[in-house]
Symmetry: C2
Subunit: 406 residues, 2 copies
């Protein structure tokens, strides 16, 4: 069997920040050869923290180090004719180009799909941009905050559960949109490679960072369009997740599920069958939902007596009720399940030293994931790629460096 799932796959990345680099990281860590092209000033993730000791340094961005494992890195200013020429030479021999530039910019540079497909008709070009290749917003930029709120996710994430209508909508932690777009782009690229096995032809894939986020609230979207109702923010909450506000524990918070009848029956046992659990108003799934205001404090009176770990034992392990402590980052990293599973992997980087990062979100029995080399330093593989692959002389490379092309 092939040692790596994607051995032999040749990918060129003309991306930046998170989404496109994450897409090609997924491929590189599974064995694809990824040549990452940065402008001479470097990928913007190099200027974005976190940094060790909070000291910014273009070779010490932990985010960049995480997102660019197993890749070769070269610099190339594709706004110059020499830069574009070298890029096109690389594409002649590539299977996939993953790029993340506004469509207008790619057209101005003559690098849009229609202009480059003649170079290599088998090439698959995957474009990942804030709003996609079409529509009035196609050339707009977006931050993670913009993607979240334009997609309607913040509307259902209000500040105070009791008064969602008067509290501001919040963005959830993290770079949800960018990472989902990265994995979405990887998945669709692999599907296009599957199609190419039969057709022999490449194609252009258009991924909008905005759109993968929408799947998470598909239920809300479908309900709205089917019923033609405008859900209020309170209804949007009550509709689905009565347990969305966690319960207070001695040392933090826990979540638990008590809507479904079998979980409610189990919870009554865990609680020791206090009298109030037999009240008719809590007897049915729907009546528990409707009387959540009364039920919540009664359950919380009980949860407050125990630590998160004690509650997890009682609820999940003994009661088989889906439950969770509300973890902070250090709890996540040190959690025995994640430790035993190897969810986080130790990385070693020449300028940063050691750090842990999330490993693969999948385990293959035959073709294992491997972050085989640390993220490249800026221009680390310029000579290897330009001379070794494209046949440039060392003098050419030196001149290109002087001219600011690399």
């Amino acid at each position: 069997m092939a040692e790596s799932a994607l051995s032999g796959l040749k990918v060129v990345e003309l991306g930046d920040f998170i989404a496109a680099p994450y897409c090609t990281k997924l491929m590189a860590d599974l064995g694809a050869e990824v040549i990452k092209i940065e402008p001479p000033a470097g990928d913007s993730a190099r200027r974005y923290g976190p940094f060790p000791n909070d000291e910014p340094h273009p070779e010490k961005s932990l985010l960049f180090a995480y997102l660019n494992t197993s890749k070769k890195g070269i610099t190339l200013d594709v706004k110059t004719p020499l830069g574009r020429k070298a890029l096109k030479e690389l594409l002649k021999d590539a299977d996939v180009l993953v790029e993340a530039n506004p469509p207008r910019v790619m057209e101005e540079l003559g690098l849009d799909y229609n202009s480059i497909k003649g170079i290599n008709p088998e090439l698959i070009v995957t474009s990942i941009t804030a709003f996609g290749q079409t529509g009035p917003y196609r050339d707009y930029k977006a931050t993670e905050l913009v993607s979240f709120h334009i997609g309607g996710l913040g509307y259902g994430t209000p500040g105070e559960i009791e008064e969602p209508d008067t509290h501001p909508p919040l963005k959830a932690a993290g770079h949800q949109g960018n990472f989902q777009a990265g994995i979405t782009a990887a998945s669709s690229t692999m599907c296009a490679l599957f199609a190419r096995e039969f057709s022999g032809e490449g194609q252009h894939i258009d991924v909008s960072i905005q759109e993968p986020l929408l799947s998470a609230i598909a239920s809300d979207i479908i309900a709205h369009t089917n019923r033609n109702e405008t859900p209020t923010r309170i209804a949007a909450l009550a509709l689905r997740v009565p347990g969305r506000k966690p319960f207070i524990a001695k040392d933090g918070y826990v979540t638990l599920t008590m809507v479904q009848d079998h979980f409610w029956e189990s919870l009554k046992g865990v609680l020791g069958h206090p009298e109030w659990t037999e009240l008719d108003i809590f007897n049915e799934r729907e009546s528990r939902r409707d009387n959540m205001d009364a039920l919540y404090p009664l359950v919380e009176e009980w949860t407050q007596q125990y630590t998160m770990e004690e509650l997890y034992q009682k609820l999940q392990v003994e009661g088989h009720i889906p439950s969770s402590p509300v973890h902070a980052v250090e709890d996540v990293v040190n959690h025995p399940h994640f430790v035993e599973r190897g969810t986080f992997v130790d990385m070693e980087h020449p300028q940063i030293g050691e750090f842990k990062s999330p490993g693969p979100a999948y385990r293959f029995t035959e073709t294992p994931w491997d972050a085989s080399s640390p993220a490249p330093s800026l221009g680390q593989h310029n000579e290897e790629v330009l001379c070794g692959k494209l046949g440039y002389s060392k003098d050419d490379v030196a001149r290109m460096r002087q001219m600011g092309v690399i």
Copy 2:
């Protein structure tokens, strides 16, 4: 060229609810033949809303209708010997099995990977479970709420931005973990198919619904493990997204970005250069961060004078500053960019009627996405598959129905 990207790919789904059905929907809508196996009682998404007019009906779940387009549906109780026999016959000729059962259950039924790979050594088995195939939690269940908080995402999503330490952690709207796991499983399955082109061998892929969520907070995880610091909830916020709390507009909320120097310069112009924008305390990126408490109300005094749409025009269109109105669901569905792009597609279902749902999160130029048929009714393709594919007689099918196997 192949009409669909995944023409010829044969997939069997033994999944439930969201993650596994979403994974196979992604394949089915790109042309794979997906045979979805439900227990005779039906997929649990059939009992989960939303429903038209809020009236529960197993053939009218909008969530089920969305997640199971383009599939063939059969019923089969794999806890019975006859059910397992039919499943194994289907697997002989399949490329991929996507399943979502606790590892313990698959072992007890003799359906774990080691037991079934002999049937078809080319078969790729993709397992999607709450906590993966290994580790102490491998047989536990989890709700979306559990996955969110065990993964540490709620910790960084506090209720009130001013007092994150005293307000409860919140879950963001939607089924984040399940949908991300679905696309992650689809991506890794396609990678294993790529590997199989060369090796001729199948393998087992282990996807935990918990793990894809962690990529969104990769920065926090890496920073913690590199610095060995415990971030406070306030620090976790201030570190990255000073604009996370949206600004009040006349008719709602907007977000805007003013940390980077070029966006700040642009914002000053949009604001008309009021005197306070020249204060030294707002002059540097770091000083703006440090003085966010003073800066916020000054900017909000301005935003409150305009509608969301007016602000979007001034900030994004004229000022090129990433900005967004905070959309509710109906704003998302009717938004001109999404309408022009065809982000939402009209679906037609024999028992539900019409509804809109999110379309594909990618556009292929050559092998377009197509939700070619509505979600199957319970057992709709029993005869077609059991008789047509496996050679059972109509009498066999009738007897199996009587026995409760299908």
